[in-house]
Structures are given as C-alpha cells and as structure tokens.
C-alpha cells in the first residue's frame, strides 16, 4: 500500500542477537541488523553463509535457536499463528525457484493472494492480475500457461508478480537474478527499482550478484563466519578492511562489477 509513512522512524525489520545452528554447524552467531522503510537492503555473502536462512527466519519459516526478530513490529515467531494473517498481506516473498503452484496457470497463481485474502469480484481480480502480469513484463499469452510450460526467467517474473499482487509494503527476494542471463538480470534490477518507485516498497533481497548489488542496493550486509562482516552502502563496504569482505568485492568479478558501476 502506498501510504504516507506515519512512523517513519521505526525500522520495518529488526533482527537482534540471532543465533542459529543446524546440528553442530553454527550458521548465525549473534547476528543483529535493522532494515529501514523504503530502502533496498541486500543480504550478501558466500555460499552457505546463512543468507537464505536469515531471510527465512525473518519471514517466520524458520525459528532461530535464540534471539528475536521483529517484522513490522510483530515477533516473527508469531507469524505462523492464527490471527496474524493480516501481516501476510503486507509482505510478498519471491522464492528462489519461483515456488509457483504447478497445478495452477500463471494467471491463477498470481491471483491466489487476492482470492484468498480479499472478497473482490472476479472481474476486478482479473484486471489487477493482468496488470501485474503486464507490469513484470510477461506477455498476456503466457497467462494461461502452467509453470512447467514457462522458461526459468518467466517463472521468476511470474513469482514476482504473485509477490507484488497485493501491493505489499515489503518485498523479499531470494536470489532474484541467479541463473538469469545478463540482459534479463539487468531488466530484473530495473523492474525492482521501478516497482520500488511506484509502490514505495521496502525490498529485502538475498543475492550474490555483484552487479545487482552495485546497481540497486541502498545498503548491504555481508554475512560470513556466522557474523555480519560488514554493513553499509556498497561504497562503504568497498573500503572495508575485513579480508573476507575485501575478497568479496575485490575478487576478479567484484572488480569488474565495481568498475562498470563507476563508469
């Protein structure tokens, strides 16, 4: 919903002292961060650094061993409980593999949140759905297709359309550009920026696409060794003295992305 931020000062997400482990492997060792309204916040880090897990914890799909997470003022652990569904209308999630329902057509997939959470009449639902499908750049002919008939990039876009169909305040993207070709990936970045401008979204994305980071992220947290190795704008992080962060941004790929951005 595009509404004037009433309490702009309060952070939309607050993660404090989160500790997570799988078996004996410690994934998060005292992780704290806050995400402000209206920013594009990226969670970066190497493979297995717990980026996706942190996102899953924020949206209440995984419970950390200790620590608290507040999402729009509500404890994440309560997200699964009855009576707090209201909050599910206020954020959208795009999963890495799209997670489209394979038994439904693209159109029906995008319509799911509207059909479940509202009592709008079918014509209006159809119009909103069509509009969202158009605004993520999918052709209308694809609307009647099933997910198995769509290409990877199209599935990703369809998942994005489903995530934003309720006009959420907060959008979570898990590796939005992984596995997409550079043109589509760049288009995806543009799309996110455009949606952010129009819908006044707060975007939280998990990514290790350095181009994406430079281009659209307002702030980035780099995870590694269970900690937050660095947090700030890309410019700030590029100055970081931490060897792991340094390597992340000054590896061969990091240099190329940075150079491109500066040009």
């Amino acid at each position: 919903m595009t509404m004037p931020p009433v309490m702009a000062a309060s952070p939309i997400i607050e993660v404090s002292h989160v500790y997570t482990r799988f078996g004996t492997a410690v994934v998060h060792d005292d992780v704290s961060l806050t995400i402000e309204q209206g920013e594009v916040f990226a969670i970066a880090g190497g493979n297995g650094s717990g980026k996706s897990t942190l996102m899953r914890e924020i949206i209440g799909l995984h419970v950390p061993a200790s620590g608290t997470i507040h999402l729009m003022g509500i404890d994440s652990r309560r997200l699964g409980q009855m009576g707090v569904q209201d909050i599910h209308r206020r954020f959208g999630v795009m999963f890495q593999q799209g997670a489209l329902f394979s038994s439904l057509t693209l159109e029906d997939n995008v319509a799911v949140p509207l059909k479940e959470h509202t009592n709008l009449d079918p014509t209006l639902i159809r119009e909103i759905v069509a509009l969202k499908i158009a605004s993520v750049g999918l052709p209308m002919e694809s609307a009647t297709k099933f997910p198995s008939e769509l290409s990877g990039g199209m599935r990703r876009r369809a998942a994005l359309a489903r995530a934003i169909v309720m006009d959420p305040e907060l959008l979570f993207l898990d590796e939005p550009t992984a596995g997409l070709d550079p043109i589509i990936a760049a288009g995806f970045d543009e799309l996110v920026l455009q949606l952010k401008a129009v819908l006044k979204l707060t975007v939280v994305m998990v990514t290790h696409d350095l181009d994406s980071l430079w281009r659209i992220a307002d702030r980035v947290a780099v995870l590694g060794e269970g900690k937050i190795l660095g947090i700030g704008t890309m410019q700030e992080l590029a100055q970081s003295q931490n060897p792991l962060v340094h390597e992340y941004f000054y590896g061969p790929r990091g240099r190329a992305a940075r150079k491109q951005y500066q040009e």
Partner: protein
C-alpha cells in the same frame, strides 16, 4: 502498524453538477465497498466532470484500476473529465495502470471450441499410443540383450530391489494371506456345516488360495507397494534431470532402472506367492480346527488328496506375468512424468490403478484359456 489511516472508508461524493469528490483509502481491503458505491452512483447528467481527488489518502494498484476504469468509462460516454489534486505518487501509479491497460483486455478466457478440444484429445491419445509402443519396444530389446549377456544386468540394483520389493514385503503379505485364508474358511464354514461337509473346507481354502487368491493378493500388494514407488522414483529422477545425466554418461536408463526392477519382481512375486499360499492355508486350517472340528492332521492329509499340484503351479505360473505387468506399468508411468510435481502424483496413482486393472484382466484371460483346456 505502519501507515494505517483511521476512518479510511472510501467515498465518492457528488458535490454539484460538475464536481465529484473522492475520499478515503482506495486500497484493496476497501475496494468491494468502493465498487458498490460506484455501481449505485447516478452521475450528473451531461457535460464535463471535475474529479477532486485531493482527499484520497491511500491508493494501491487495485484502487488505481478502479479509478482508471471509472474514468475511462465516463470518457467513453463522451464527457470531459479532469482530475485535480492527485498526489504525485498516486499519479505515477495511475500512469502505470493506464499504460498497461491495453494489455489487460488481452487476458480474457480463451474459449476452445469442442472441435479443438477433440482434436487435442485425439492427438494426445495417438501420441500416448506411440510412446507406449516405443517404451515396450525399447524394453523388449533391452531385456533380450540382457538375457543374451546376463552380465549386463546390474547386480547391485537387482539385489537392492529384491530386498526392498521382496524381502520387506514379507510381513504384510504374510499377514494378509493368513487373514484371507481365515476369512474364506470362516465364511465357508457356516455353509459346509449345514451339509455336514466339514472336511471340504480344505478343498475350498486350498484350491481358491493356491490358484487365484494368493497370486492376486500378492500382485495387488506389490502394485501398491512397488509399482507406485517405481513410478515416483523414476518420475522424480526425470524432474531432477537425473535421467538426462544417465543418458549423457552413456548409460541406458532402461538397462539401469527398468531391467533390474523387472527381474527383481519376476523373482520376488512368485516367491511371495508361495509364501502367501503357505500362510493362507495356515489361516484356513486354524478356522477348520476351531470351527469345523477338522484337526490339523486331517487337514493335511485331505489337502494331499484334494488339492492337485497343478493348482499350485497355475498359481505361481501366473505370478511372473503379474510381476512383468506391474514393473513395466510402474516404470512406464515414471518415464511419462513431465516436469511438474502434479504429474508425479497423477502418474503414481495411474500406475497402481492400471497395473491392478491389467493384472485382473490377465487373470481372467488365464481362467478362460485354462477352462478351455480343462485344467
């Protein structure tokens, strides 16, 4: 809560002949209410309208859709519409809606004609028939090759399959066969006692179990237990591109997946049938002893006289064919799975239904042929 305005019910007020004032939140939760207001409204007759929208407090895509649609409709009636006081962020939203609006009408349910549907159904059936033949052909060739060179059969997979589909099925098969023998004898006991023909319970139990019931119950169990598993396993491998990996590594999925499973079931099903025979007859003899005063010794000596060995051989003779049907149907359905999770469930179910169906048809066919030959 963030940005949740109080008293945000949307209103559309007709101020005078030319001014319309909009208020409140034009957002998804309120759209039904808004739609109601808009359908009831009587627009002032003729002339242009000024929409004063400065009091719209919140708007999302849904609200923008409603506003855009209403305005377009009015413009269509030939009115001059001007919108005043729209906040820049809502303006942007409305812009997005109107620029994509031409595409929205493209999303209308495409109605297929009956002819098209029939055509599609026809082509699919034809394709299905071709793929079935292809599969059977490939299977036959691979099996013949494997028989010529038995070293080609994957011993590891064969043994694994034997354990999983044969050995692990022992408890459930035994229990079911025992109970079936029990039930048949129990139901027969009542009738036989009326005629004083107690001893014939042995004929009843022995012949029906050995010849028909045991092989069938084993086949049905294996179809449910293993046939479905084959379909799901191979289907999952297809979805995760494992089958493609197998092919590109120069291996034959038939050789690797189908042949060991077919062979394993051809060995396991007859063995399970014999096992089911034994336990079924035991179940019958328990009832014979307790309800009909036919002792175990009597039961056994009558069994030797009454139940010809051919009944036993007919029973286990059918078992390998049942095994082939079950394994092939399961694997075939697995290979037919295309990409989606939905398909896995559907094909798994189909594998069970089809294999049980084919097993019973085959059994009926055997009965007819055997009765022609008088055995």
């Amino acid at each position: 809560m963030i940005g949740k305005p109080q008293n945000s019910e949307p209103h559309v007020l007709i101020m005078n002949d030319s001014v319309i004032r909009c208020e409140g939140a034009w957002t998804i939760p309120y759209l039904t209410m808004l739609n109601e207001v808009l359908t009831k409204i009587q627009w002032p007759a003729g002339g242009g309208l000024v929409w004063d929208v400065v009091n719209i407090r919140a708007m999302d895509t849904g609200g923008a859709v409603v506003l855009h649609r209403t305005l377009t409709q009015l413009r269509h009636e030939g009115r001059q519409i001007s919108v005043e006081g729209l906040r820049p962020e809502f303006e942007e939203l409305l812009q997005v809606v109107s620029s994509n609006w031409s595409q929205v009408s493209g999303l209308k349910a495409s109605q297929e004609s009956y002819r098209q549907r029939l055509e599609r159904w026809g082509t699919r059936q034809a394709q299905q028939a071709v793929t079935t033949l292809e599969f059977l052909g490939e299977c036959a060739v691979t099996v013949i090759e494997s028989l010529k060179r038995p070293s080609l059969i994957r011993r590891q997979a064969l043994i694994h399959s034997l354990e999983e589909d044969g050995f692990r099925a022992l408890p459930i098969t035994g229990l079911l066969a025992f109970l079936l023998g029990f039930v048949i004898a129990y139901q027969g006991a009542e009738q036989l006692r009326q005629f004083g023909a107690n001893i014939f319970v042995v004929d009843l139990v022995g012949i029906s179990l050995l010849r028909e019931i045991s092989p069938l119950i084993v086949a049905i169990l294996i179809a449910g237990r293993s046939g479905s598993a084959y379909a799901a396993q191979i289907g999952a491998m297809k979805v995760t591109e494992e089958l493609d990996a197998v092919r590109t590594l120069g291996l034959s999925p038939m050789q690797l997946l189908v042949v060991p499973r077919v062979c394993a079931l051809m060995i396991a099903v007859p063995l399970l049938t014999v096992y089911a025979d034994v336990l079924g007859v035991m179940g019958g003899s328990v009832i014979a002893a307790s309800q009909l005063n036919v002792s175990v010794t009597e039961f056994i000596s009558r069994f030797e006289e009454a139940v010809a060995i051919r009944h036993f051989f007919i029973g286990i003779g059918k078992a390998p064919f049942f095994a082939i049907i079950i394994a092939l149907v399961g694997c075939y359905q697995g290979f037919q799975i295309r990409g989606s999770v939905d398909d896995v469930g559907r094909r798994t179910t189909m594998s069970v239904v089809q294999s049980i169906f084919l097993v019973i048809v085959f059994d009926a066919f055997c009965s007819i042929v055997l009765s022609w030959w008088d055995i």
